[in-house]
Subunit: 184 residues, 4 copies
């Protein structure tokens, strides 16, 4: 009815899920971890989120090592659509090919309207010692604080695309020149 | 020896602890939760922190309801000292009087060199369902992303002092005008 | 219809809850732990219980330090009623006065039909480092394995009433002669 | 020096570890769960064990699907040795071939001196929702309460060898006639 007080407006964030380690669940029969169902809702329920209103977009649910060129394209196009109608976009993605989707987003949106923040995990949420909640927490804050652009937020670091790669040895994302210097 | 590659430099962050709910531990004998020892180290060890190098400053260890005017002054002066020699300052503080220390910091440093981010928790880390790790994660990211200023980061929201209060009914921090509008 | 195969029959266990530390929950407003609601259901749901069919009897929900003589009597009489119609009884009880109820049960039922097993916790289930699940797990196994009698199961020990006391210094239950020898 | 009071004597239990799901750990590089190191010590440290003094015997560390006839024989012979010098033996074992080792133990020791209790887990300890601690808790209690014999303790049930099988569909152990009746 009346105007809501200033400072009380939550940001409308699209949360695009594509699968990856963060959502892997354990199959007691086969003894392996597989991408079978979304556990993002469980993670979101365990956080106290007063800054964002989240709209869930369940796009894919696969290990990023199995993603095709078409999958990356579809992710980037979905992100562009959501960026047009949200205050920000968070993308949950397998880390192995996260930078492929991130680079494609940065190409497709050289000058995005809003922040786009990719995140993922090295260890599934289902594990006691998982980085999943930390990374999701960071992405949901970075999407409010960063200038428009395409980023990855993980392990207490926010990096902007293009030029970001996963360093397998460090087990995290770094700028390409850092990865090259480390291996030189 | 040689120059480190760009993008690999961590921010030097001072982490000033003053006690509060976030660090409360359970005494099985008396059956109450008390501020007895720092459990911040345990929380820090459970996070993967690649963006910051943390220097711990254990200043106080008390429930903020028991803080005197002198305590708030001491906190603000310590923060000012650390802001002079760090890339940012995070202050762990009881939520009940957090805004008193925050306002005093903002007065003392109207134009700080670096970001100063207060945080705390409504539920101790020792509880399974605690907001402590979320809030600490957010403070340790906000201190890298925000412009110089004095803030509180908690529950997926970052607010800048002056003009921030704890709303007891909501159980979180809001801008003063929001709290007043809610109670009007 | 047809006879169920031998070995597949679950024991019918009455689970009498009376409150105590095991069920304490944290009130973020007051900052204290209080017996406010039963969290036994949550604990039971986290266990895989294939040996027992549990019938819940929510009798009291109070800190045992606040129990009156009438409360202990009511507990003992309820246990006797349940022992008459179950294959075993588990009683969740505050540890401070657990032995008062245990002794009263042993008096009232010098020769019980089935095993009666008391349990409790020194640290509430809500804490990350709680003994609650361990103790409940033990009570729900001991009630299947022990001979008819009144017991407390906790901390990897099962002791039979009468003659069991809580040793405040050890933070667990021991036979009375052990407690006396320790303090002699 | 002087005699210890009666009731204060802990049972000397041999804990023989052979690997299995219970000890699986996650490799962030390969994204799979593997038997790489013992996490039994971590589990034991999280329990309050006042009834037993544990002597660890790290015999094997493999998925039981990979166990050879020689492995089962070696396990059974080790258990027999430990049974001769302990008040009880607990064996941590992969569930897939647990009953092979259990049956061999029962053959080798038709009339054992002390209780021998096998246990394992359907979901590794590293998972938030694991049955590992429940099962270990049960084995460490059953070994004190059961008559001499060879058993499996898991999921709130204790069953005596011979004649126990893992039912893949139920995901737990049952008596052979129960499994056959279910599949008939």
């Amino acid at each position: 009815m009346t105007e809501r007080p200033r400072g009380f407006d939550k940001k409308r964030i699209s949360l695009v899920s594509t699968g990856g380690t963060i959502e892997k669940t354990y199959d007691a029969h086969s003894g392996v971890l597989a991408n079978r169902e979304s556990i993002l809702d469980l993670m979101l329920a365990s956080l106290e989120l007063r800054g964002v209103d989240i709209e869930r977009v369940s796009l894919l649910n696969k290990d990023s090592l199995e993603m095709s060129v078409e999958d990356h394209e579809r992710i980037a196009r979905t992100v562009r659509e959501r960026a047009a109608v949200s205050d920000g976009v968070v993308v949950v993605h397998g880390t192995d090919r996260l930078s492929v989707s991130g680079e494609r987003c940065a190409e497709l949106m050289p000058d995005p309207r809003v922040p786009v923040v990719f995140t993922g995990a090295m260890r599934p949420y289902e594990l006691r010692a998982s980085d999943a909640l930390q990374n999701l927490t960071e992405a949901l804050l970075a999407v409010q604080l960063c200038a428009p652009g395409v980023y990855v937020a993980m392990h207490n670091v926010v990096l902007r695309f293009p030029g970001v790669v996963k360093d397998l040895e460090l087990g995290t994302f770094v700028r390409r020149e850092v990865a090259e210097a480390l291996r030189a």
